[in-house]
């Protein structure tokens, strides 16, 4: 059930960012370059996929502004945009809070139901 889609809808979010982090390979790339900026070749060594596939993921991450490119000599390094990642965290956190406030209410309803059941059993 998603009764509060309406509130969820209020949460501003760069929509592509969501897509960017949904893919497991892209999440792995994010984890790797979070430690240090890396070239596509260096990154590709960590995956079974081809260098082309890794480049495609990097392009998506770049379009979503999660990573930025930096030219060093003949190599291009990709680095993580920490602020962007924070934005994603914040969005998920807001979404989580909306659900949590619903669930806290549900928890209270369940407590009342449990008490009612106990009272009935006693009678």
């Amino acid at each position: 059930m998603q009764p509060f889609g309406c509130i969820l809808a209020l949460v501003d979010m760069k929509r592509d960012v969501f897509q960017a982090i949904a893919d497991p390979t892209r999440r792995a790339i994010i984890a790797l370059i979070a430690v240090q900026a890396m070239t596509p070749n260096a990154l590709a060594q960590h995956f079974d996929s081809t260098r082309q596939a890794v480049s495609k993921h990097l392009r998506i991450l770049t379009e979503c502004e999660i990573v930025t490119q930096e030219q060093k000599g003949r190599e291009i390094y990709y680095r993580l945009e920490i602020d962007k990642m924070k934005e994603i965290d914040e969005w998920l956190e807001q979404y989580r809070k909306i659900w949590e406030s619903r669930f806290e209410q549900l928890g209270e309803v369940l407590e009342v139901m449990k008490n009612d059941q106990r009272t009935k059993k006693k009678k």
Partner: protein, 162 residues
């Protein structure tokens, strides 16, 4: 109980997990009995839930509608029950009903799957929201950014703070 966990298992899916200190038959009741549903689905200040039609019949339709009693605005959700396994699983479609609030959440219904699992009196509830397409998910997320949306960020903050 630990607070809700939210994850994004695929690019058109959101998964929300939460456990409750109650046996599954009570949690099930709270999710399916309109009188009980109203008690936890109307937490927004100033909003009531005048329509809460629910069914656990496969193929049956449900209809939920919220109303802001101050400015007469309404919105809701409707859908059809696709799968119902007592005390275990509910799968239903969900379409945003803009009421007079406006906005759209995409044309195709999303699929909501709620599973219930009880262990030693604790019931784990997992809710998966699967949008028909990425475009629909984006529409759902960007709805409300439109001018017609009366509910402001301030109200959202209050909801979040409360």
């Amino acid at each position: 109980m630990k607070p809700a966990e939210v994850s994004t298992p695929s690019d058109r899916e959101v998964l929300v997990k939460r456990s409750f200190d109650a046996p599954v038959d009570l949690v099930w009741q709270a999710y399916t009995d309109p009188a009980l549903m109203r008690r936890w689905l109307t937490a927004m200040p100033g909003w009531s839930m005048p329509v809460c039609e629910m069914t656990t019949d496969v193929g049956g339709k449900y209809r939920w509608r919220w109303r802001n009693d101050e400015n007469d605005q309404e919105f809701g959700f409707t859908g059809e029950m696709l799968e119902v396994a007592l005390h275990s699983k509910i799968v239903h479609t969900q379409i945003f009903d803009p009421g007079n609030l406006g906005g759209s959440m995409g044309g195709e219904p999303s699929i909501i799957t709620v599973t219930f699992n009880e262990t030693d009196g604790i019931t784990a509830v997992a809710t998966s929201i699967k949008f028909a397409s990425q475009a629909d998910r984006d529409a759902a997320i960007s709805t409300g950014m439109t001018d017609g949306m009366e509910m402001s960020y301030k109200q959202l903050d209050e909801v979040l703070a409360g």
